[in-house]
Amino acid sequence: MHRRALLPEALKSQPRDPQNGGSKTHIRYNQTHKLLQYASMLFEQIKNYLIETAGVDARKFDNPDLKVADLELDSLGLIEMLFEVEDKYGFQIPDPMVFLPMTFAEMVAAIDVMVQEHTKAQAAKH
């Protein structure tokens, strides 16, 4: 399926990536680079879902200040969108309503933080 092809393998392996051994600067550079790359993948993943499955007009994403509210999703539509992330990373996003006042970019950033925390917690467990 198209949206499964967008899965960010880079981040999945990051916590145990042996190539991150090296100077501190190098680590920071690598991580920042991967985070940026990953955040944009997350952005694309959610955006593609909204356009292809939820029927949101693709032109809306040209606006950098696009609001979550402007996506015109109902309450079920909002949690269906979040499931795209939940399904991939295997955790439930606690309160979908916190995203409503945000811009789309802010929402992706907030979800990104949650994914990072979950990934770290999982890495610590295993």
Binding site: I79, Y89, G90, H126
Partner: protein
């Protein structure tokens, strides 16, 4: 009380993707029974099933792809029935049009997927980073038994009562009967009725297997595995699909000069109050007598009966006895067949599908056979239209029986419609 007429019907079944192809296959004694899906066969290699001849998502708009398989079947059958009835939505009298659904298991496919996902995530080392409790947010709305009713009301803007009946093998026969009553007693002017079922998944089939009622695969020809009224019967075959009817008051139908396939003339229902799965002559006979009484027809006027006929020993023999009891000497002119020999047992969809086939028989004068009946059980001594269809019959009225686990019995009677 206003007469109730059938103004359209639709089918998606193991025999065909619509009503015409399904009836044609039944007349040709062509069986839709065969191998199980791979995930069922992996655990139950000896089981045969009757899969829908079409994958529902291939004929449905993408917006419906997330729905449970049973809801998808229902939408397909309803679309055909509404088209044949010539209903153009939105309807001006939408609040007078209801939706009546029969389904046995509800969203069985979605339930099964939920457990499958949970245990797979839990046990697969590659998925250890995932929380197994994360599920699709629409899991519950997909599983709920009234999921099909909801989808139909929303798709067509139907605002009358939308009721779902879960009465095992009699579910959609009850839905037809109750919709008929709602129209006859003036609560509605029309109703979309659909029976649907989709439970050919590992969990449900493991359960059926444990009940010891399922047919053994015929070693020579698996498509012959369901043999009602036959000495060498071995049980029934679960099928999937949906059948829909549009019911309408004769007055509404006349106002719009709509087409009429038949009058739904009688509905009888009873409970055995005896045994969870064993049938009873008294209960079955009571349902058939009620249907006859309501229609005002004499037994001699009914010339075709689509039997419940599941191909279990107790079921075939008991139904034969109850038909004798109700029809008496009129059985001499009664043709009885079990089309389950070809399309299998569609559980929640069975009653609606078999009524639709009976109405096709009424209008065409061609009676579908009981397939594979070359070794009749001597205890089953009716005219079962063995092996081959019978054509050119003058048919005035038809009966369809549906008898459920739990002891619920339903009999429906349809007749040629002659406006007063």
């Amino acid at each position: 009380m206003t007469p109730v007429v059938v103004s359209g019907a639709g089918v998606i079944s193991p025999l065909g993707a619509d009503k015409a192809s399904t009836f044609a296959a039944a007349l040709a004694a062509r069986s839709g029974i065969g191998a199980s899906p791979a995930d069922v066969a992996a655990w139950l290699p000896h089981i045969v099933v009757a899969q829908s001849c079409v994958e529902p998502h291939t004929v449905l708009d993408r917006v419906y792809h997330g729905l449970d398989r049973a809801t998808q079947f229902a939408l397909i059958a309803v679309e055909q029935a509404i088209a044949e009835a010539g209903l153009v939505t939105p309807l001006a009298d939408a609040s007078r049009v209801g939706v009546f659904v029969g389904i046995g298991f509800g969203g069985s496919q979605t339930s099964d997927s939920l457990y499958h996902r949970f245990y797979t995530t839990l046990s697969d080392p590659a998925q250890r980073h995932k929380d197994p409790t994360v599920m699709h947010p629409l899991t519950v709305p997909r599983i709920m038994a009234n999921s099909a009713a909801a989808a139909i009301t929303m798709r067509y803007g139907l605002q009358g009562a939308s009721n779902t009946y879960s009465v095992a093998c009699a579910s959609s026969a009850i839905a037809v009967g109750e919709a008929c009553r709602a129209i006859r007693h003036g609560y509605l002017d029309a109703a979309v009725v659909v029976g649907t079922e989709a439970m050919l998944n590992p969990g449900a089939m493991l359960g059926w297997n444990a009940l010891r009622v399922m047919a053994k695969a015929d070693p020579q020809d698996p498509s012959r595995s369901c043999r009602p009224f036959s000495k060498d019967r071995s049980g029934f075959v679960i099928g999937e699909g949906a059948a829909a009817l549009v019911l309408e008051s004769a007055a509404r139908s006349a106002r719009r000069s709509g087409r009429v396939l038949a009058e739904l003339a009688g509905y009888g229902c009873s409970s055995d109050a005896q045994h969870l799965t064993a049938p009873s002559v008294e209960g079955q006979a009571a349902a058939m007598r009620q249907a006859l009484a309501e229609s005002g027809l004499a037994p001699e006027q009914v010339s075709y009966l689509n039997a419940h006929g599941t191909a279990t020993d107790a079921g075939d023999v008991t139904e034969t006895q109850s038909i004798h009891q109700v029809f008496g000497s009129a059985v001499r002119n009664l043709a009885v067949s079990s089309t389950k020999s070809m399309h299998g047992h569609l559980i929640g969809a069975a009653g609606a599908l078999e009524l639709v086939l009976s109405i096709e028989a009424l209008n065409s004068g061609s009676l579908p056979p009981t397939a594979h009946l070359d070794q009749p059980d001597p205890r089953c001594d009716l005219d079962y239209v063995a092996l081959q269809a019978r054509h050119g019959c003058a048919v005035e009225a038809v009966m369809s029986n549906s008898f459920a686990f739990g002891g619920s019995n339903v009999s429906l009677l349809a007749r040629r419609y002659r406006p007063q």
